[in-house]
Assembly symmetry: C2
Homo-oligomer: 198 residues x 2
């Protein structure tokens, strides 16, 4: 299973790395989770420089494409030299977006008619793109999912694992990363958010 975590200049560390960390719990089952960037390196909104594991084109053949978030997403949404490199297809791929990543899903036309989740800052821009924004952390329909609020990226990762490997694997991944002493309640809550959409 190839999974592209799209990570752009100015990225939010929480949005890319919470999802990546949880999805990598499936590494032992052969999942290949890759930080996927338009350039050889990208620097986060807080000045952390990360080396791309894959170029942007990796997304085009990946099984899952997760759009991360960041402070320059409105610029990226207008940059055809970046988005033009993406040729995605929700009939054969899971597409997931976190916070301002939802604006990119909207711009690319994949949210046509679907309500979506995003963060409070991005909300007006997503609405300007003609998308209804929900006051909830997670939403999904068929192969497209969106989440709002940095820590909601755990729901995106859970949805991906549950869709592709079943609820048991999703529960095991969340159990591992959950706080000690709060593991059962975290698994129960996370699954309650995600399972209505699987």
């Amino acid at each position: 299973m190839n999974i592209a975590i799209l990570t752009f200049e100015g990225f939010n560390e929480l949005d890319s790395f919470i999802a990546a960390g949880i999805l990598n719990r499936m590494k032992g089952q052969g999942w290949n989770v890759q930080i996927t960037c338009p350039t050889a390196q990208v620097t986060s909104m807080n000045g952390v420089t990360v080396t791309a594991q894959q170029p942007l084109e990796f997304a085009n053949t990946a099984d899952v494409v997760l759009f991360g978030s960041g402070i320059y997403t409105r610029d990226i949404a207008k940059d055809t030299s970046i988005l033009g490199r993406l040729q995605l297809d929700p009939s054969r791929q899971l597409l997931a977006a976190q916070c301002s990543g939802t604006l990119l899903l909207a711009t690319l036309g994949y949210l046509n008619g679907l309500p979506a989740c995003t963060d409070l800052t991005t909300k007006p821009w997503v609405m300007d793109a003609g998308i209804e924004v929900l006051n909830q952390p997670f939403n999904a329909q068929r192969n497209i999912a969106t989440a709002g609020g940095c820590m909601a990226s755990q729901y995106l990762a859970t949805w991906v694992i549950a869709k592709l490997a079943g609820n048991g694997e999703a529960e095991a991944a969340i159990h591992y990363v959950a706080p000690v002493g709060e593991k059962e309640q975290t698994v129960t809550h996370t699954m309650s958010v995600v399972t209505p959409y699987i």
Copy 2:
């Protein structure tokens, strides 16, 4: 406020970046949160290479030193060429450890007599170091805090902000990163875990 997030070869992305992301919510108030490494670059347990923002010695004069976690912590705990570069002092610094980072705090002698939190994998090694391990996500006494389970790093970050800037700033940081539609309950729960130790 200078904050060193100690990040070693084989690091766990969740443990370094959840804390860094939340603590960086205080950037506007002048906080300087830095990924601090023994080498110019470190590669995570999942193959993500990050460029150090600061060398390890930055920790020695920082106001807060947060020990991240990773897959090579047992080797690092024996490596005097790494740990010998640290000269910390809990009388003038907050020292916080996440998951296997607790083993480094123990090795350096800062947990003398204090029970601690860590992840389930690291638990036996911390016990071998003579430290009582608690079945809870977070513990702190005076200037030393420990957390267990990747997602518990939000409690470490909350504790640091509450200790140094007050509960109001800590609540605001968690409110920002919490999932949409779950913000109030996330703030209430997080503060309920942390405030008994402030």
